[in-house]
Symmetry: C2
Subunit: 115 residues, 2 copies
DNA sequence: CGATAACATTGATGGGCGTCGATGCGATTT
DNA sequence: AAATCGCATCGACGCCCATCAATGTTATCG
């Protein structure tokens, strides 16, 4: 929700401050670190790349377990972390859940490393 | 000091594969995850932003401890992690060690999230 | 309904990480 | 040489995380 943030942080960029633009305070650094923590795992990075490689733009969990070589609960665990970080979305259709990338959120994290 | 990058892993392989370009194998994902792990901490992000905000491009450790509100060993610990990840460099001059950003390495990590 | 399939959640375990006080090491100063 | 300063390392503590087996939940099928 668009709760009233301190107008200081809203002036520059509405979403994600850059690491290199100006000194980060503890709150900003914490939020950014939370985002990068979601990327700081090989399994999750491979999950993202698998989703990106799908022509339809979405992959059901059943097609993610085998390529990763991890157990189904483990894959589900990582998908939840990515979902909570806003990097992926899950859509339930019948028995299956189809996951897709949130490219906007990924781009936001990328721009945070803007030189 | 100046922890040198292990030249063993630096083969002909392109510097940084994109997460979204093609499915990552375990090795590529592991290396990328190691890089993002270095960014997945508020103190380290603030360290990077402090280095970036310095007009001279470098800051000695003695000027980093107070702004971060962490103990000197903790700051030194995070600087080592950033150094091993190739994100910063340290130069010893007399009693002081001056740290500076490695913007190329930062840009490489950023481009790994390129869509 | 009962059975089955697809995901999510729980509980347990082993390992890694952030933090700080104490200590060590190199360089400067007196 | 002795004292001091700047920074790195060590040892220890507490906490979080990745992983899997077992179980729960939701939906489809016979």
């Amino acid at each position: 929700m668009a709760t009233m943030e301190s107008s200081v942080t809203r002036t520059v960029r509405p979403c994600c401050p850059s690491v290199l633009a100006s000194p980060l305070d503890g709150v900003q650094a914490g939020e950014l670190a939370q985002g990068f923590t979601a990327l700081a795992d090989p399994v999750r990075l491979r999950l993202l790349s698998l989703l990106a490689a799908s022509p339809s733009g979405e992959v059901c969990v059943c097609d993610l377990v085998a390529p990763l070589g991890k157990s189904q609960p483990t894959v589900s665990h990582h998908l939840k972390i990515l979902s909570e970080a806003g990097l992926v979305r899950g859509d339930r259709r019948g028995k299956w859940v189809w996951y897709s990338l949130n490219r906007a959120r990924l781009a936001a994290l990328r721009d945070a490393i803007d030189a």
